[in-house]
């Protein structure tokens, strides 16, 4: 009984996580400018990662694996916002405005 409940919870978390990650990936592809895209990516990084890893934790039970999973989560939660923050700041400094379809500064052919 308890076991089935846990596994259903885990499935639910995993499914939500994967659904959201898909949605956000589409967002990353479709959104008009850099900052909205960043929003899609940043949120998906933290939220989906959380959901999926928690789903896996429920599957794993209490073991070394859980510990590692939690470490991964910790890592992702630390790094992703930090990176997003630094990236946004750098972009802002580089003179990218919101809603402004900027010329690609990098001239790639």
């Amino acid at each position: 009984m308890w076991d089935t409940l846990i596994s259903y919870c885990s499935y639910a978390l995993l499914l939500t996580g994967s659904f959201l990650s898909l949605t956000f990936a589409i967002g990353l592809l479709r959104f008009p400018d850099f900052y909205t895209r960043m929003h899609a990516a940043g949120v998906s990084d933290t939220l989906c990662a959380g959901l999926i890893v928690l789903g896996l934790v429920l599957q794993a039970g209490i073991s070394l694996v859980t510990l590692k999973l939690l470490f991964i989560l910790l890592f992702l939660w630390f790094t992703s916002p930090t990176a997003s923050f630094a990236l946004a700041r750098a972009a802002h400094r580089a003179g990218y405005g919101v809603n402004e379809q900027q010329e690609a500064s990098s001239s790639n052919s």
């Binding site: 470490f71 890592f75 630390f78 930090t82 630094a86 990098s106 001239s107 790639n108 052919s109």
Partner: protein
Amino acid sequence: MVAIAVAVMRDLFAIVMLFGIYSLLTAGIFVSLDAVDVAFTEAAVGAGISTILILSTLALTSREEKKSTHSRFLPLLVVLVTGATLVYGTLDMPAFSDPQAPVHQHVAPRYLDQAQQETGVPNIVTAVLASYRSYDTMGEVTVIFTAGIAVMLLLSAFRHREDEAGNLNDLSHHPVLKYVARLMIPFILLFALYVQFHGDYGPGGGFQAGVIFAAGFILYGLVVGIDKTRSMFSDSVLRWLMASGLLLYIGVGVVTLLLGGEFLNYNVLAADQVKGQHWGIFLVELGVGITVTATMIAMFLAFSEVRRPE
């Protein structure tokens, strides 16, 4: 796919980014082909160390590539001939992942069947790497050592001077980064130690641990300050560490010689074969770890401290 993009694009910076993805993808393929140790290394090396080194180089050179006016015909011909030779070669190859292929018949079964009894190590890759073919691994450490001293040789003359410290580029003015990174570094080092000593049972080993260990210090250098990292590792300390790791490896070999075995025959290290193997593998992996850590840090510092072009 990514590779094509790399070939076509001319913004070197974007290429490096894609190269990072390419490495991660390759590593993913390695995992799906059961090569966990290799994936481990490829991720750490291709996506990590190589990317960082290439980026540092780009920062010191230029980012845009000029339009090449080379003739494209000859290279294309050479490449096509090479490719054709290989395709021709594949026609007679045993089918992919066929367990009856000769690759899986001759040497490998012995490793899989007996390595655990003979060396006491369940990770066969580690067993083969550090015991059966440990001489190759010694060569590998030597290669890393060679590259380390070569990089030092090439770049040491261009070290920035003390009074130009502001020239160094780091992220020490980001308070958030600094805080988070400081929090994480102890965990990274802990994880490196885990990888170093858990390599017998899971994926990992001296090389991977060395890279992670160095990654911790590279992180420190990036967010806290290159000069701070340098003050921990002066050139002579790094040199000493690099050499001592290699010497530890060779030393194990010499000790086995003196104890009457062949070079790197760990069986003579203890009365019991498995115990001897255990000691031998432990010591050589440690040697690998030390040299790799020191070399990676040395390379990172050497690349970071070059004076930028005026």
